[in-house]
Symmetry: C2
């Protein structure tokens, strides 16, 4: 088994990366809105993008660029405008901004990828954006992960960041990541973004395969409301600066690296699920006994996305009927007489039959886990920007002191729903959040 430890530093923890985030005036609030992540040397890039038929200009650009050449040196991101539903002007914004970043960094424009998040159908104000690109390039720093993480958010309550380290051939290899997203969703501020840096040396095809699998086990297994964004993007760089042996074929080294990559992606994905609009708890669904992993994941995702289950969790109610109902309609065939449902330590259903269980104990478990998973911003009633401590449970970068134990992170206290549907080897995890009044409030009171 791979072993790794958590370290500070986020996306600049791996060797040879600098990052920064600055306020360019793209967000009406004046909050940071342009981020740049740069590798000192050309890096191998892999990407996973939205499957929506309605896509932002930057998504099409990244797909095409990566298809031609997977060597990339910079990731540019703006928050405020999604650059979706923007036509030819939106495409021009992509080329102008990547050219500007390339010029500031003295690299080729094709080495710059770009992601956007914010309001759909609004053009990015190019004058401040281009000036902001120059500014963010000047601000690049090896301690810049936190400022980049803050510049990519929209409606998020907290920033999301992680870095892990393991040993390969006696030398440290690191993977760092930041993400944003408050659901797939907010009104027209949709979008899940994830940026991952790694200092290992990996071949392009293998790195892409690893990222695709890691995304399938993480970002593709979270759901806030089922609404996929026009801009969802996950981009991972590997620059070889760890000076560890190149990984060019499947084997123990590749497996270890992929395992660590998967944990990074799962952390970032869970952080998004916990920060779901209006959420008061993080839900983890663990499905076993399916014919294969894909089937198990599908059932897990369906349960995590069930409005009825989510509303029951908000009501702190151990409603096994809704969990069983969601499992049954997931589109995966199984024998209902083998269905087993457990909530925390409480066994609610076995062999398809409801069991007598301690309703109060199950209720207490739901309350306890929800309490333990409160976001610091909620507990303190402070916003992302105004509290120096608002991130320190979720991020571990920059000046925020690392908490001594992972056990204190809100993400370590999900409400666990374990479902078994048979004797098969397939298993899968999914994450979601509860459905609260605030979800409706946030999304009904927003006006175009």
């Amino acid at each position: 088994m791979a072993t790794w430890q958590r370290i500070p530093g986020g996306i600049t923890a791996p060797k040879g990366y600098r990052a920064a985030g600055i306020a360019a005036g793209l967000k009406p609030s004046g909050a940071p809105d342009v981020a740049l992540i740069v590798s000192d040397v050309p890096a191998i890039a892999a990407g996973v993008f939205t499957t929506s038929q309605v896509r932002a200009a930057c998504v099409d650009y990244c797909r095409q660029t990566l298809k031609q050449d997977a060597t990339v040196q910079a990731l540019l991101c703006n928050a405020g405008q999604a650059n979706a539903g923007t036509g030819a002007i939106g495409e021009k914004a992509v080329s102008l901004s990547t050219e500007r970043a390339a010029k500031a960094l003295s690299i080729d424009p094709s080495s710059v990828l770009v992601a956007s998040t914010g309001v759909i159908g609004k053009q990015i104000p190019m004058e401040p954006f281009l000036v902001g690109i120059d500014k963010v390039a000047e601000a690049l720093s090896e301690a810049g992960s936190d400022s980049a993480a803050q510049a990519i958010v929209t409606t998020d309550l907290v920033t999301k960041s992680i870095a892990l380290e393991m040993e390969l051939d006696g030398r440290p290899v690191r993977i760092g990541g930041i993400s944003k997203g408050s659901g797939m969703i907010h009104p027209d501020m949709a979008t899940m973004l994830g940026f991952v840096t790694c200092d290992a040396s990996v071949s392009p095809a293998l790195w892409q395969e690893m990222l695709t699998r890691a995304a399938n086990a993480s970002f593709n297994q979270i759901t806030v409301d089922g609404d996929t964004s026009t801009n969802d993007s996950l981009i991972a760089l590997a620059n070889g600066q760890s000076r560890t042996p190149a990984i060019t074929a499947p084997g123990p080294e590749a497996e270890q690296l992929e395992a660590m990559l998967t944990v990074v992606c799962q952390h970032l994905a869970k952080a998004i699920a916990r920060d779901g609009e209006g959420a008061t708890a993080l839900i983890e669904v663990n499905v076993t006994g399916a014919a294969n992993d894909a089937a198990a994941r599908q059932i897990a995702r369906t349960i995590a996305g069930s409005s009825l289950t989510k509303a029951a969790i908000f009501g702190r109610d151990a409603n096994w009927g809704r969990i069983a109902g969601a499992a049954g309609r997931a589109g995966v065939s199984f024998d209902q007489n083998q269905l087993r449902i457990q909530l925390g330590d409480s066994l609610l259903m076995d062999q398809g039959q409801p069991l007598k269980f301690d309703v109060q104990a199950a209720h207490d478990y739901l309350c306890r886990q929800a309490e333990a998973s409160q976001l610091p911003a909620e507990a303190g009633g402070t916003s992302l920007q105004s509290s120096a401590n608002s991130n320190d449970l979720v991020t571990d970068a920059g000046k925020s002191p690392l908490r001594p134990a992972m056990g204190h992170s809100p993400l370590e206290h999900p409400i666990v729903i374990a479902v078994s549907i048979g004797d098969g080897p397939g298993q899968g995890l999914a994450w979601g959040c509860d459905l609260s009044y605030d979800y409706v409030k946030i999304n009904a009171e927003y006006t175009t």
Copy 2:
């Protein structure tokens, strides 16, 4: 084109049917909870049932019975217990109750179908149920549609009923229907049920084909929260008592009958969508320009089921971005530059680009339609049982006076979202409701 008129009488409007609903004590409230619908002569039966892997005992029984012989004479229904998650005892409840009904009616048990709705995992109290079956058989009447419609509901705010008549070969042919459902869903009071009676003479295979297609264009196109029930059942009888020529092959007569059947099913389905938990408006999504009808229906259903779109409608906000986002993730391929979105008379997006539109006019349209679609029970603040007038806009049976024009029915004032994705011939309709605080309240505050 087929022409038909609306008539009173619900499921007992077609010739040769009697129905009744009585209170047997299965619901804690003491409200009517056992319904029986009987054809004077053996009728051809067709059925469409839940696709869930977790199914009630009655669903499996109906499927098996219809597979052996499509000749049926009675439909029995209890409300209060779903008879799902009830194992062997639940199967026994099915055989005991169908045998009792058969004895009371002096017919063969295999001529009795049964449906259940209510709490999952609770056994039906058999003593009161069996006594109730005798009682409901004695109460059968040609004016009994309304009492049957009242005995099949659970959390519904209003009953759902319709009857239509057309001419075939110079003689009247009638189709009547009742349904229940407040979403696919309520907590553990899930379930959509639909019962349709017809006095035409149709061959079994053709009748099943007609019902399957009608269900695909109606019940399968409504969504309240995406949660499919363990008990969903739609059963249609055709008993030939209209004395019109037997319809045994596709042709103009079959087309006319199917068209009328589809309208009956769409009315019953829309009534369920409008009665969705917490709903304040009925939403109709009309997708055109797809490669085929199935693709158009899928997009329509995805938009109607999008939490973001539903919350925006609750906020009376013409949020085209959410509609475009839902269309994009429906799993159907299209060119986003051909996307066109219209809300009522307001064109919001064309050729994939957002348009300037009168935001106030669009808001007014949403308010106006929602206002016009208010359920009578809501307007008067009265419950299903306590108001003599609570049903008269939705049902047209029994003593309730028929409103002079269909235009006054809440179901005739949906909020219409029209989406075009290209130049293809495929089109599809779907119906849903908005997502309100009350949906969360109803589903979070329920406790097992």
